[in-house]
Subunit: 240 residues, 2 copies
Amino acid sequence: MTTGAALVLFSGGQDSTVCLAWALSHFEAVETIGFRYGQRHAVEMAQREIVLSEIASLLPTGRRLGADTVLDLPALAAISDTALTRDSEISFAASGLPTTFVPGRNLLFLTYAAALAYRRSIGTLVGGMCETDFSGYPDCRRATLDALETAISLGMDRSVAIATPLMTVDKAGTWALAYELGGDGLVSLIVEETHTCYLGERTHRHPWGYGCGTCPACELRAKGWKRWREQVSSPSHPGP
Amino acid sequence: MTTGAALVLFSGGQDSTVCLAWALSHFEAVETIGFRYGQRHAVEMAQREIVLSEIASLLPTGRRLGADTVLDLPALAAISDTALTRDSEISFAASGLPTTFVPGRNLLFLTYAAALAYRRSIGTLVGGMCETDFSGYPDCRRATLDALETAISLGMDRSVAIATPLMTVDKAGTWALAYELGGDGLVSLIVEETHTCYLGERTHRHPWGYGCGTCPACELRAKGWKRWREQVSSPSHPGP
């Protein structure tokens, strides 16, 4: 149990939902921050409201969620040509980075979060950044976040920690962590309500949730689910 | 002479105008970026257009200015409006910073600039941050910017330099640098068109420009002007 307050970067996706459950299990006071920066995220923004209203009641801590702040970032769409903010196909650019890459997007999100945290006397930011996806996002790497932690702490003259509970956890491990934190209730909330699909698809229901099933985000989520189910159904596994 | 391209954080104030002249004298290609984030800056935004249209013709290099990008940052005002907790009120009071202060503002500006620079293959950001003002902004210190340079370079997987030509220059030195870069023409442009006054005052004309003359920004500018004029009129001074 870590004491104190945490501000969770919460998008309404699977990873940030698990991070929110983790924060609610580790901090005395938890607030959330979200960012509006492209039409494709409208579905995710709607789902995040549902997750926010239900998650706390599913966890054994009985802790309530604090304030939620959503910031509009029109500048991000203005800068980027990327697939996440337009209807172009998800593909890979010549640089090897996905075309969804908004350079430094997570640096901006975390710096905004740090500014809000400063004003609300919150010492820890929590983000779902992860190195295990091989997604090619250099702003998700821990070395990047260590440097940013230093820059923010110096620039705000106050120590700010960036906690990344999923940094070394693969997608099967993310499902396992969800089960560990909130049992079947939390797993079910993630399946039914969290949104990951790049295409905003929510009509097809798969065992792992809603989505097109073929975009990179759906593929990653589906594979993680499959591996986790195999692990828990293996005779050598202690449960569930 | 540095070769390559630079992106100047350009507000229309005295410091960023001198930085722009410096960049036009040191880089082969120069673009500008500005940020809209509050009504108080409307005057500054209007003056910046005038400076942008005139500055290149006043410099001996004969170089033309490249594209200007202005980004809307409504989230900065949203963070300012965030209700302060009791603890943060106390710490604001103790630090002497105004309660509208958005901590880490320069980190955000530079990270946005870096994202745009990435898109436009520009390797150097230029900002007017300065340690000599004792203005109390920790995000203007060189140590902060060194850490941010590392965070951005790691997070975008590309080397980004943050040049701060005024970092160790006092306000008299800023006038001297303007004269050195662009002579009487540039000094006159700064006096007549750049805006610094916190109150947006542009009716009173002082020897150093327009402004209320009493806010901290006007005081700093006036004192710098006075010291510079004393220096150049001293018998031991070589010119102008």
